[in-house]
């Protein structure tokens, strides 16, 4: 059974349809990358999955169980299964690095502080931020903030991690430190949904690549298939453009 099934999903911004007939399965441990031009609906799909934009039609199933985004209880269940890392990090500006990572497990899950902090420190050390526990987000570089944001997402031990253009706001020099962190998660067998413009990286880590355009899934397949032998003309055009430089 797939860990995540998306069936005929549709979403609107107001009256404007931004996602239509999205069908996608994600197996446990898979790394699915969403690629496509700006405005194609990649980030929107992640926002819909997290319940930040409620879908207007279709289904999402996690481990076979259909989830209703209009039910507050089920929305909570969805959000404890999935965690998202945002393009702009979205760290809580009023909290230290450690508090950013521990606040949800302590305040939302009600787990004991000591235990949560020990785990958070291990996570922060893993992403190379163990020396900055007492720093505030505005004292860190973008790459450092993004690694803290990844640790924060992991602190709730989600089954699936969604990465929304996590390197898009970073200086080129800082991109690799974040990508290395993602590679580490991939090596741990974490199921991930990645929206990225780093095509070399997408090609390297993805078990499945999904090409989107205009709110639709145009084509999906292995990285090799999408990048080397795309079936659809639109995919060929996109891949041709981005691989030329």
């Amino acid at each position: 059974m797939p860990q995540l099934e998306i069936v005929d999903l549709k979403a609107n911004y107001g009256t404007h349809t931004v996602l239509e007939r999205i069908n996608l399965n994600v197996e446990k441990g898979e790394i699915v990358s969403l690629i496509g031009p700006s405005g194609s609906g990649k980030s929107t799909l992640l926002r819909v999955l997290m319940g930040l934009l409620p879908p207007i039609a279709g289904e999402v199933r996690i481990e076979g169980r259909r989830l209703d985004y209009n039910s507050r209880d089920q929305l909570r269940a969805i959000r404890s299964q999935m965690a998202i890392v945002f393009q702009q990090y979205n760290l809580f500006q009023n909290m230290t690095v450690l508090d950013n990572v521990t606040v949800a497990p302590i305040k939302v899950k009600g787990r004991p502080r000591k235990e949560v902090e020990d785990y958070a420190i291990r996570l922060l050390e893993k992403v190379g931020m163990g020396a900055k526990l007492k720093s505030y987000p505005d004292q860190l570089s973008g790459g450092q903030q993004q690694r803290v944001a990844i640790a924060r997402a992991l602190a709730l031990q989600p089954g699936i991690v969604l990465l929304d253009e996590v390197t898009a706001a970073l200086d080129p020099e800082l991109v690799n430190e974040v990508l290395d962190t993602v590679r580490m998660l991939a090596a741990d067998g974490m199921t991930m949904f990645i929206v990225s413009h780093e095509m070399g990286f997408v090609r390297e880590v993805s078990s499945k690549v999904v090409f989107m355009d205009g709110g639709h899934v145009v084509e999906m397949g292995s990285a090799q298939q999408i990048f080397d032998t795309p079936m659809q003309a639109r995919t060929r055009e996109f891949v041709g453009k981005i691989l030329r430089h």
Binding site: R79, Q88, D138
Partner: protein
């Protein structure tokens, strides 16, 4: 003139006059302090209600918006008369002080609700998104994430308002509440020179509002510290 003032001094600072001023100061202080505390508490609550997005709270949001927009636009004196006549129509036998107190609370609530609302809205939407995806409730998001970041936007105008507000409580004299401005007028009518009387009134208003402004500064440094990068 100075000679006249010096000549008046012993009579002016007689026991009964001091008592009269002290009582008046107490009334102004009570109106200001209760108005500030109630206004801050209710204003904060109304602002938080106004920001909820839940459909069930829609009628409440409309009511809050109406209250806030209405009472920010009505002059204080008119609000005072309004409260006075409403309670009279209801045959409620309230003291003038109570009428004034209700009025100042209504006004402070409306103004502070608006200041707090704009402060809370100044915090970036991405902070709400992050909190939502981590399963924070609305109140947890406000308490743990939004309000701590909004303090530095909220506090300066709130304390600015408080200072204006203390002065505005003088309008309670219009319905016969013996507060500082009323006391000043009475003493002046008794024949004491205006310079002496209103000089004293000025000093007393200053004594009320200056510590308040200092307290505001103190809160700003405590709740909204600036960090070295």
């Amino acid at each position: 003139m100075l000679e006249q003032i010096i000549e008046e001094l012993p009579r002016f600072f007689s026991y009964y006059n001091l008592l009269f001023f002290a009582k008046a100061l107490g009334v102004t202080f009570a109106l200001s302090a209760i108005g500030c505390v109630v206004g801050f508490t209710l204003g904060f609550t109304l602002a938080a209600v106004r920001l909820t997005k839940r459909p069930v709270a829609a009628p409440l949001r409309v009511a809050v918006t109406l209250f806030v927009e209405l009472f920010r636009r009505i002059p204080f004196l008119v609000t005072l008369m309004l409260v006075f006549f409403i309670f009279q129509a209801l045959n409620a036998d309230l003291s003038m002080f109570t009428v004034a107190l209700i009025s100042v609370c209504v006004i402070a609530t409306a103004f502070i609700a608006e200041i707090v609302r704009s402060g809370l809205e100044s915090v970036h939407q991405n902070q709400w998104d992050a909190a939502a995806t981590l399963n924070f409730s609305y109140w947890q998001t406000l308490r743990l994430v939004i309000v701590p970041q909004a303090w530095k936007i909220i506090l300066p105008p709130v304390f600015g308002f408080f200072v204006l507000f203390i002065k505005d409580t003088a309008l309670a004299s219009q319905i016969g509440v013996v507060e500082l401005a009323f006391a000043g007028k009475t003493m002046n009518n008794k024949g004491f020179s205006a310079a002496l009387v209103y000089g004293t009134v000025l000093a007393l208003y200053f004594a009320l509002s200056y510590p308040l402004a200092r307290f505001g500064k103190f809160l700003e440094t405590r709740l909204a510290p600036t960090r070295d990068r």
